[in-house]
């Protein structure tokens, strides 16, 4: 119980950052929160469903482009556009799954990567949204949202600051929603089935878990959230281009490192990982490439010496797991 209280206090403190903190901090933490959303998603895919995707940037980009299309071509509200972005990403994840699920293991990884590159190159052909060079989100479309005016009335500050405030809170809400949903999902019958499939596919199939359907469900849902996150990211960034929206480095490589460092296949892993990632970035911001080299080396070291990452090693060393995903066997089995 205490762990939830600490967590709640932490979430509350984060919620107060836009009111008390500087705008630079808000922008920094916004990126961190979005990376955390992506990391939680990728962890569900790779750490729990065994789907090692190297192509999640596809759904970030699709969500972002769909949001831009809603705002620029249809004149919709960006927040609504963001939700549409999630839906479009989920819809497009169906044909992607149809293709990628025919591939297994490493083939799946390469297949998703190729699909993401196809998406990048296809969106480069969308001339109405700037083709290969991209385009900017009309400032007024974001800054004239009713909610921006409300925020300014409450807290003062410029329109741009209010936009940062809004996107920050949306990102925080998204993190909390994904965390809660992951927690509930992983402890549900489906989630436990998923972990059973990961740990022993043959036995899981024998007790009636259909691994493909479960994995497809995870793939679709993470595409949805990743799409929303993509839309949100680019509301704040304000400018889109295929290379930025479909960046392998920014939206998948960093995310993989975050999950691996924190502890793949554990729920708190991505949170730990994103904190380490942010700390390293702050400490080594001036060194550019050196920072990336260090990140790569840390990732390699984790795989060699502590495969379950920082959180997994912590649990292993101490035998103390404050957030157990399994739970006691139910008193009586419920028939299907």
């Amino acid at each position: 119980m205490r762990i939830f209280l600490i967590f709640l206090a932490f979430a509350l403190a984060l919620a107060l950052v836009p009111i008390l903190g500087s705008r630079a901090l808000v922008q920094d933490l916004f990126t961190v929160l979005c990376l955390l959303v992506l990391a939680l998603n990728w962890n569900l895919l790779a750490g729990f469903a065994g789907l090692v995707s190297v192509g999640q940037q596809a759904f970030v980009g699709i969500g972002a482009y769909a949001m831009f299309a809603c705002v620029i071509l249809l004149g919709l509200n960006p927040i609504l556009g963001m939700l549409v972005g999630g839906l479009v990403a989920m819809a497009l994840s169906v044909p992607v799954a149809f293709f990628a699920f025919r591939l297994h293991g490493a083939y799946f990884a390469i297949g998703t990567w190729a699909v993401a590159d196809i998406a990048r190159l296809s969106f480069s052909q969308w001339k109405a949204l700037g083709g290969g060079t991209g385009t900017a989100l009309p400032k007024e479309a974001v800054q004239e949202m009713a909610v921006i005016q409300i925020l300014r009335d409450l807290f003062g500050g410029s329109k741009a600051a209010a936009v940062d405030m809004l996107t920050y809170w949306l990102a925080l809400a998204l993190v909390l929603a994904v965390l809660a949903a992951s927690w509930i999902f992983l402890r549900s019958r489906l989630g436990l089935g998923l972990q059973a499939v990961r740990d022993n596919p043959v036995a899981a199939r024998a007790v009636g878990v259909d691994p493909t359907r479960l994995k497809a469900l995870v793939f679709l849902l993470t595409a949805f959230v990743t799409g929303i996150c993509g839309g949100l990211l680019f509301i704040q960034i304000g400018r889109i281009s295929p290379d930025a929206a479909f960046s392998l480095l920014d939206w998948t490589a960093f995310v993989i490192f975050i999950v691996v460092i924190g502890g793949i296949g554990t729920l708190p892993g991505p949170i730990i990982g994103v904190l380490v990632f942010y700390g390293l970035e702050r400490a080594l911001a001036d060194y550019g490439t050196l920072y990336l080299i260090l990140l790569g080396l840390i990732g390699i070291a984790i795989m060699l010496f502590a495969r379950r990452g920082l959180w997994g090693s912590f649990i292993q060393r101490t035998g103390f797991d404050p957030l157990p995903l399994g739970h006691r066997a139910p008193a009586r089995a419920t028939p299907e």
Partner: protein, 287 residues
């Protein structure tokens, strides 16, 4: 006639991709290792050739010859010191380790050589071409293609006609029983990765001689190479050549329609082949 020309250009480009892919295919076939750093290792090879050439004043072809043993040793060390430790049932550790390695190599090169693009200076042969029937073919693309065929032939000979190749196949089939034959799988894997990097060095020579390169181009080349390996079928070297040709021809025709469609057409060919044949064109192994 323009279509014939496009086809020939595509086949020649496919030869380059097959060179990128051959080492990958060898390693993949023997130890099921997906080396995400292969593209960056090729780029590393190109810088090594450039460095040797600059230091000694040798022609890139001769510099590449000197680079071969260096890259072979690097491959063995990489496998023995790092990759052997993460091979196993779980595919995630090798994927993540080679991914980390890719980032390290890329940024290491960036630190050492900056982001400026370089080229291996070959001299007059770069612009030379030979008329072949109705089409004219550049000498360099032809050399690349010929080298790709030779590399595949040599690897096939090694794989099917030598004691080492026998040990490769036995280890790939059943590593535990191979140990009962006195084979040390880890050593076999190290040799295999060494050979893969020798092939990567040959690929690096043509990569660097035909076009500009910079530290960032590894991953894209890796993707084409992987597509070639997967289209070709696990563990089949001729399949890998065929896969490279499919990607090359698709890219050439895509580019003929619209220059922006070159890469896209290659990816789409990859997806189409896999939709029709999920195990590739010529799968050797049964898994």
């Amino acid at each position: 006639m323009i279509w014939l020309d496009t086809l020939v250009q595509g086949l020649l480009l496919g030869g380059l991709y097959a060179l990128f892919a051959a080492g990958l295919s060898l390693v993949f076939g023997i130890m099921r290792l997906v080396n995400l750093a292969h593209g960056d290792l090729i780029v590393l090879g190109a810088y090594l050739i450039l460095g040797i050439g600059t230091a000694t004043g040798l022609n890139p072809f001769l510099a590449a010859l000197l680079a071969l043993p260096v890259m072979f040793a690097l491959g063995m060390a990489l496998q023995a010191g790092l990759l052997n430790r993460v091979l196993g049932e779980d595919i995630l550790p090798p994927l993540l380790v080679t991914f980390g390695l890719s980032v390290v190599i890329q940024n290491g090169l960036l630190t050492a050589f900056s982001a400026d693009s370089r080229k291996l200076p070959l001299g007059p042969v770069e612009a030379a071409s030979v008329p072949l029937g109705p089409v004219t073919i550049g000498t360099m693309p032809l050399l690349t293609f010929g080298s790709a065929i030779l590399v595949i032939l040599a690897l096939n000979w090694l794989f099917y006609r030598t004691a080492l190749g026998r040990a490769f196949r036995a280890t790939s089939d059943d590593p535990v029983t191979a140990q009962l034959m006195g084979i040390r799988p880890q050593r076999i894997f190290a040799v295999a990765t060494g050979i893969a990097l020798v092939v990567a060095t040959i690929a690096a020579l043509y990569l660097g001689a035909r076009a500009n390169f910079d530290p960032s181009i590894g991953p894209a080349r890796l993707l084409y190479a992987f597509e070639a390996v997967i289209i070709g079928g696990l563990g089949s070297l001729w399949g890998t050549l065929a896969g490279g040709l499919v990607i090359g021809v698709a890219q050439a025709f895509g580019a003929a329609l619209n220059p922006e469609w070159q890469i896209l057409a290659g990816h789409i060919a990859f997806v189409l082949v896999l939709l029709l044949r999920p195990r590739g064109l010529f799968p050797r192994a049964l898994d």
